[in-house]
């Protein structure tokens, strides 16, 4: 499927800022399931956009914009051709052995409730890792109510699990945290999701998880949708948790309070058939 993405973030500052520095993880890379046809990043201020690669192999762009200005726009525009690989990720960049992704982070520290959840899932699935991961995906999808209100970007897996509420980011954190507690390497994936229900305009990107299954490799699980990633998913960045894969991280000098408006359009590009 050819997916057209535009992602616009506009920062409005109450007072003029003296400078902004940001690191963007907004550029997808190719793997067997996706191919980037074109991709462009545009910043509303004059600045140099430096292209780097982080330790995980994600493409990053950094820029420093000198003030003063009261509004900053970061626009991403691109097209990606995707194929359904049943969630299996092949041909992607792997800079580390899977065991690295057993590391615990502040956002994915398990509490007793999550440990119990993981152990129950394992007991039900016996020795079948794949079945275990699928059952956890399904249970999280069923039991956690999708609700953007009570959580924010710094909500931990344990907090969200206790509330039984969260967004894709929280569900992925819970999933990762539970998988790691069972010694299954798991990681966070940030990206875009083309909705089958025809909703094109979205307020946030999407997130899911990948777990390492022996004999298969990295397999994606999307607890927010209760499925494994399909050709509707565009994979952008990976990390140990949201912070490692977050699309934008940065700092600014001055500016007072900041208001951020994010508009994401994910749509199917001009009709095409597979033969």
């Amino acid at each position: 499927m050819r997916i057209r993405i535009s992602h616009e973030s506009i920062y409005r500052y109450a007072a003029p800022v003296a400078g902004v520095i940001q690191t963007l993880r907004l550029t997808p890379r190719n793997h067997d399931g996706q191919y980037v046809v074109f991709w462009r990043i545009d910043i509303s201020e004059d600045c140099r956009l430096d292209h780097h690669e982080d330790a995980f192999g994600n493409i990053t762009h950094t820029f420093t914009a000198e003030g003063s200005f009261t509004e900053l726009g970061v626009t991403v525009d691109g097209e990606v051709e995707t194929q359904d690989t049943h969630g299996i990720v092949r041909g992607a960049i792997e800079r580390f052995p899977p065991s690295l992704f057993l590391r615990e982070t502040a956002l994915t520290r398990p509490d007793t409730a999550i440990l119990t959840f993981a152990r129950e899932a394992r007991a039900a699935a016996r020795d079948d890792t794949l079945a275990l991961l699928h059952s956890m995906t399904e249970r999280l999808h069923r039991e956690i109510v999708f609700d953007p209100d009570p959580t924010h970007t710094a909500t931990t897996a344990a907090e969200s699990f206790a509330m039984r509420r969260g967004v894709c980011q929280d569900l992925s954190h819970i999933f990762i945290c539970a998988a790691r507690s069972l010694d299954i390497p798991a990681r966070y994936v940030g990206g875009y999701f083309h909705r089958a229900d025809g909703v094109i305009q979205q307020e946030a990107g999407h997130a899911w998880a990948e777990a390492f299954v022996p004999d298969i490799g990295w397999v994606g699980f999307d607890p927010a949708n209760g499925i494994s990633p399909t050709d509707q998913h565009v994979r952008v960045a990976i990390g140990l948790d949201y912070l490692g894969a977050s699309p934008v991280r940065g700092a600014r000098k001055g500016g007072g309070t900041e208001a951020l408006t994010v508009t994401i359009h994910v749509d199917q590009a001009a009709g095409q058939m597979q033969n």
Binding site: R29, N30, H31, D32, Y35, V37, G57, E81, Q83, G91, A92, I93, A270, G271, Q272, M273, Q274, N275
Partner: protein, 313 residues
């Protein structure tokens, strides 16, 4: 567009590209064998030229020994060798004539005029001087043809199919040079490259006209692993495998968009490109340069077959 037309355009470009490549190989080999004997060691450069051209069996069926005379005759002029430069041009011209109306005037002039000049050369007793002239002429014809296509053709499926031919052939050629010479590019601990190695490396670069580019990119003396990096992974280098695949993917994408459907060829090309893009030279050496190139050649041939099945028959 008829499959037959696409097929002719594709093979027209492939043959012109192949002729140019053979001319480069012959030129590089001539240069290498002109060195004093003390430098040239025990390898037979002429035999290695035949294997780079990928026709060892056919060659030894026709000749007993690989030397300047026999190899030049076989690769440049022999009617018995289906891939001799002369035959390449003849087939290219036949293809061009079949799709005369799909070509621009300039392209047809380049290929037809080129063929008439080229066929005057050959026969026994050609001097080195004449051979040098001939090789130059072949490269100029190829340049003229490629340049005319670039400057005059409509950017539609006819252009894209002709580009596919160029880049499939080019990728195959670069891979074959690497395959024959890979033992020279392996990093050996504490190895001091002797003068022979230096000239061999320079010859590899020259055969893909990358000697100057090398110095622009790396700004240091010739190092075999950097040469491999340049010819395999550097997408700025027009004859590198990465660059060929960048172009193949793009042209296949144009075709897919114009026809509104895509298939195995697009998938195969993207897969290979992703692999080249996500590889690092260290990992390639770790897994074996020879194996890497061997797999690439298989993948590239596979893409050629897939394109044929999807579009050309």
């Amino acid at each position: 567009m008829l499959s037959r037309t696409a097929d002719n355009l594709y093979w027209l470009s492939r043959y012109v590209e192949r002729a140019e490549y053979l001319a480069r190989i012959l030129e590089a080999t001539q240069r290498l064998t002109a060195l004093p004997l003390a430098y040239s060691g025990t390898t037979n450069e002429w035999e290695s030229a035949v294997s780079t051209a990928g026709c060892v069996n056919a060659f030894f069926a026709a000749f007993n020994e690989a030397n300047e005379e026999t190899v030049t005759e076989f690769l440049a002029f022999s009617p018995a060798n289906p891939s001799s430069i002369r035959n390449c041009f003849e087939v290219a011209r036949t293809n061009a004539r079949a799709v005369r109306t799909a070509l621009t005037m300039e392209m047809w002039d380049a290929i037809n005029g080129g063929w008439h000049e080229i066929k005057r050369f050959g026969g026994a007793g050609a001097t080195r001087e004449e051979l040098a002239q001939f090789l130059r002429l072949v490269q100029e014809c190829s340049l003229r043809f490629d340049g005319s296509a670039y400057r005059t053709m409509l950017r539609n499926d006819a252009y894209w199919f002709s580009r596919l031919g160029v880049f499939i052939e080019r990728a195959d050629n670069t891979a074959r040079i690497l395959d024959v010479k890979y033992h020279l590019l392996l990093p050996v601990e504490a190895r001091v490259g002797g003068p022979l190695d230096y000239f061999q490396w320079a010859a590899i670069l020259r055969s893909v006209s990358a000697l100057t580019s090398y110095h622009w990119v790396y700004r240091e003396s010739l190092k075999p692993w950097l040469i491999a990096d340049l010819l395999i992974l550097n997408d700025q280098m027009p004859r590198s495998l990465a660059s060929c695949y960048q172009n193949l993917v793009q042209n296949l994408d144009y075709i897919a968009r114009a026809y509104g459907r895509q298939g195995a060829a697009q998938r195969q090309a993207r897969k290979v490109r992703t692999r080249l893009e996500n590889s690092r030279m260290d990992d390639v050496f770790q897994g074996g340069l020879h194996e890497f190139i061997g797999e690439f050649v298989v993948d590239n041939n596979q893409l050629g077959t897939t394109i044929s099945q999807q579009y050309l028959v």
